[in-house]
Amino acid sequence: MALSKELKAIYFISLKDIKSYYFKPPNISWGIIFPMAMALAFYLRNPVGMKDLIPGLLGMTILFGSTSMEAVVITFERRLGSFERLLLAPVSLEGVLMGKIVGGAFFGFIVSCAVLVASLFFFSFPNFNLVLLIPSLVLSSMAFSTLGGFISVAVKEVFEAQTLANLFRFPMIFLSGVFIPIETLPLPVQVISYLLPLTYSVESLRNSLLSHYSSFPAWASLLILAVFSSLLYWASVRVLRKRLG
């Protein structure tokens, strides 16, 4: 009974966020147009293998879609005071945070699906594996939304959240095998690459769409994404609890 009430509250918190923040033009453009523009820029510089860029493009779309609003939403609501309404409600702190994260993850999932459907019009993927693709998209969305949530609780001001989000996002684009294969990077940089969740997101998506390109077992990528999500969620709860006093 208590669990059912908690789950319902999580659902309503995420639904409210999706309606209020996510499906708004600025957020959609940041979630879709920016990754597309980046992919197009790389394609124009090196116009071979656009199909090979699709998993990376999807990973980037999830990253930007999930974090663009998630990384600021809690900071923003704490500044306005409305976050307190959620804390006053009969929901655990963990539940409130999960509601926020699920909202961002859902948006990341939907925009990546839109990019995927568009990609399917232009390219064929003979090794397309839907059974692997769906958990890859879901776990990537959760991992990046949790990263956004962590950023959002770790800072006090919205501009700090945006700065910190970019500090994570932009290096990840270049270090996670989106455009440049990790194997071609210097060894110390490769170590950093394997510490970044986008690496595992791109690996699992590559496994789902272009299995012959993958250098990493799909199950391992999914497991690592799940571990990233859990650790970041746990850290977010702890940081938020400490901040609230």
């Binding site: 009430k5 309404r85 009969p90 655990s92 609230l244 006093g245």
Partner: protein
């Protein structure tokens, strides 16, 4: 714990980085009471309310809300309360109606009752014309009313009101007080924090006075007033109240206990009965013409000043600061 207690607080304490904000306070609130928490700014009122609402973790002590421990049964204790924080903090982008429906969702109001309940509350706070206006578009008084409506959405047995009329115009404040009385008339227990002594006097069955994190008195307003009845308060109107050193001269008179200036009047507290003849002669010798004399009953403010030891002038400054 007695079964008719809405709140039972024992040794509740809060430290902020070593600063003792709330110091081992202990009190009980009976179901159906309007309980006032009165104290100057920074006394620890809001910290106390935030601990009781589950927003802050107490450093020491315990409290229960309608029998539910605020730390061990936090979610269930939150379900028992409605909270109106000092700052009206509903969602700016949602309309009045959407805000109430969202609160209903969070508090588990059944789907088939949520919209009906929201409509009823909008009528209760007289915001029918603003039903579909975003919260950001409402006036301060309307925001306050809607925040109260949001606290009532799940029909809680206990409501916390933190400085409910602070910053409101006279009309809005009066409407709000009427609403508080109506709610209490329906059996809802009210926990009211305020620095407005008259508000507490008119609304509360019992009042706790909090100073520097400590409760220094808990009683009915009448009993608190009686605590200063040993003193006679007299208001003197004077033709020339700006004479130099007048205040000090009055204070120097033997049986004068307290002196406060209110515009052209002086409110003077005498130890025992006022020695009319000698005091009027004393004033006359100093060139003061008395134009009116009124004997005053002790007010809750007098009691508050006596209990807290706060200077009246400081209280006025605090009140002005709060309004600003």
């Amino acid at each position: 714990m007695e079964s008719n207690l809405a709140l039972d607080v024992e040794n509740l304490t809060k430290y902020y980085n070593g600063f003792l904000a709330v110091d081992h306070i202990r009190f009980q609130v009976k179901s159906g009471e309007v309980f006032g928490f009165l104290g100057p700014n920074g006394a620890g009122k809001t910290t106390t309310i935030r601990m009781l609402c589950g927003l802050l973790t107490p450093s020491e002590g315990r409290a229960s809300v309608m029998g539910f421990d605020i730390q061990k049964e936090t979610v269930e204790s939150k379900r028992q309360i409605g909270v109106v924080p000092e700052i009206s903090n509903l969602y700016e982008e949602l309309t009045s109606f959407e805000n109430l429906v969202f609160m209903g969702q969070l508090y588990g109001v059944p789907k088939n009752q949520r919209k009906k309940r929201s409509e009823e509350l909008i009528q209760l706070v007289r915001l029918e014309a603003k039903r579909d206006i975003p919260f950001s578009g409402l006036s301060k008084g309307m925001k306050r009313s809607l925040t109260i409506a949001a606290a009532l959405v799940h029909d809680p047995p206990l409501i916390f009101l933190d400085e409910p009329t602070s910053g409101l115009d006279v009309g809005s404040a009066r409407n709000l007080r009427t609403m508080i009385r109506q709610l209490n008339g329906r059996g809802t227990t009210i926990f009211l924090t305020t620095h407005n002594i008259e508000e507490a006097n008119h609304l509360c069955h019992r009042i706790a006075v909090l100073v520097k994190g400590k409760i220094i008195a808990v009683d009915t307003p009448e009993a608190l007033k009686k605590s200063v009845q040993g003193k006679s308060m007299v208001e003197f109107g004077m033709e020339n109240p700006n004479l130099p050193d007048l205040l000090d001269s009055i204070k120097a008179f033997d049986s004068v206990d307290t002196v406060n200036r209110r515009q052209d009047h002086f409110v003077i507290g005498f130890k025992g009965g006022p020695p009319w003849g000698s005091f009027l002669l004393y004033l006359q010798e100093r060139g003061v013409s008395v134009t009116s004399i009124n004997t005053l009953q002790p007010t809750l403010e007098d009691a508050f000043v006596k209990i807290t030891g706060l200077d009246r002038e400081m209280m006025m400054i605090e009140k002005e600061g709060k309004k600003g």
